[in-house]
């Protein structure tokens, strides 16, 4: 089943909103409102207030942003810095979790320094016989 046509656009939008929250995190430690996010996004995107609200809501559900009540509106803060989320992704990808190796299919599933010599020998075998 192909994803609905709006899905890639929504993905782009989620990424753009996260970028905006990350870049503004230092100036706005208390988080950004929907209005602030809308105003921060490029005007040529021509987005509706409700669209941005939906995107922020989705990000909150995914645990990528946290939100706090501020009067009648919500203020949104990134749940982690870009670096910490990248580190989490890499941990999930390379870490020693048992399920990881079944969840993701790696080209190379880790190598220890001791394995490298063995690999070098194997590589020269390949080069000799098939090169």
């Amino acid at each position: 089943m192909p994803p609905p046509p709006s899905a890639p656009r929504l993905g782009d939008l989620e990424r753009a909103v996260m970028e905006l929250l990350w870049s503004g995190a230092a100036d706005r430690p208390q988080g950004a409102s929907v209005r602030e996010v809308l105003e921060g996004l490029p005007a040529d995107r021509d987005l509706a207030y409700t669209t941005v609200m939906t995107v922020l809501d989705r990000l909150a559900k995914k645990g990528l942003v946290t939100r706090e009540r501020d009067g009648r509106a919500w203020r949104y803060t990134p749940a982690g810095t870009r670096e910490s989320l990248t580190a989490e992704t890499m941990r999930a990808s390379l870490g020693d979790a048992t399920d990881r190796r079944t969840a993701l299919l790696h080209f190379l599933d880790g190598a220890t320094p001791e394995e490298l010599d063995d690999l070098r020998a194997a590589l020269s075998e390949v080069e000799q016989r098939r090169g």
Binding site: M90, L104, L123
Partner: protein, 282 residues
């Protein structure tokens, strides 16, 4: 009688056959028929265990309650473990992949370096490449991998990952993982799961060889291994089969005759419990 034979057969196919087959190193040179044989053996084990109770039904006519009860216990136990394991492994995998896909989609822009779509690049220095299987699959590379891999090796890596996605190797791996966890601890063999993983990698390597040739594919493995080794604290040690996989790249494919024998073996193994079940009802 046949119920007992089927239960013994199940034990043999789940506990002994995988250990023997994991030692047949030449199986690796024909990964596709080898994986069919592995599926056949595991499927036959499941059939044998599930057929124990139906095969014991004739005992009921002679009031052989005990035999039937024991056979039914075996069948129900295996069925229960299979369902439980399938549920646990399946939900665990899907949750882990969904979370990972969310992170990747937020962190990694689709690669716009002129290559085909579906490739995401993570801003991280450790060189690694993997795919996220599923309906909305992704091939993920790190910037470290893009920096370390020359263009031809990168093509080999991408061909390997795309082969995983195209062939739905994730489903194959999930099938074997579910079965592995459903077999009781003393019977299950970790070396069987490791061997199956190696075969799946060898199968994807075949696609990389078709695109880039064996030498380039082997060099790509070396490049990533060299890049990952210093990160011992972050990277898992792997299972030590990478050198074996690399040597497979040097080997010539087996003759079609050998493949045919392996397919025959697979067929015969599945036919065995079905034949016993049929005999029990005659």
């Amino acid at each position: 009688m046949f119920a007992v034979l089927l239960a013994l057969l199940a034990l043999l196919l789940a506990g002994v056959a995988p250990r023997l087959m994991a030692r047949l190193v030449w199986f690796r040179r024909a990964p596709r028929p080898a994986l069919v044989a592995w599926q056949a053996v595991s499927l036959a084990a499941v059939i044998a265990a599930l057929a124990a109770a139906p095969a014991a039904v004739p005992y009921l006519r002679e009031r052989g309650w005990l035999v039937f009860g024991m056979a039914a216990a075996v069948t129900l136990l295996v069925l229960g473990r299979l369902l439980l394991s399938g549920h646990r492994v399946g939900t665990g995998l899907r949750a882990a992949r969904a979370r990972h896909r969310e992170l990747v989609d937020i962190l990694a822009a689709p690669d716009d370096g002129g290559r085909a779509d579906g490739i995401r690049v993570l801003a991280h220095a450790t060189p690694t490449a993997y795919c996220l299987p599923g309906r909305r699959s992704r091939v993920v590379l790190t910037q470290g991998a893009l920096a370390a891999l020359p263009a031809d090796e990168l093509d080999a890596v991408i061909a390997h990952e795309r082969a995983h996605l195209r062939g739905r190797h994730d489903l194959l791996l999930e099938y074997f993982t579910v079965l592995h966890h459903s077999v009781p601890d003393p019977v299950r063999s970790p070396e069987a799961l490791r061997e199956v993983r190696l075969l799946i990698e060898a199968l994807a390597d075949r696609a990389a060889i078709r695109t880039s040739g064996p030498v380039t594919t082997a060099r790509a493995l070396m490049t990533l291994a060299r890049g990952q080794a210093p990160e011992a604290s972050l990277a898992a040690a792997g299972d030590g089969t990478t050198a074996a996989r690399m040597r497979l790249l040097a080997s010539e494919p087996v003759s079609p005759l050998v493949s045919a024998v392996m397919y025959l073996y697979a067929g015969a193994v599945v036919a065995l419990p079905l034949t016993l079940l049929w005999l029990s009802w005659r």
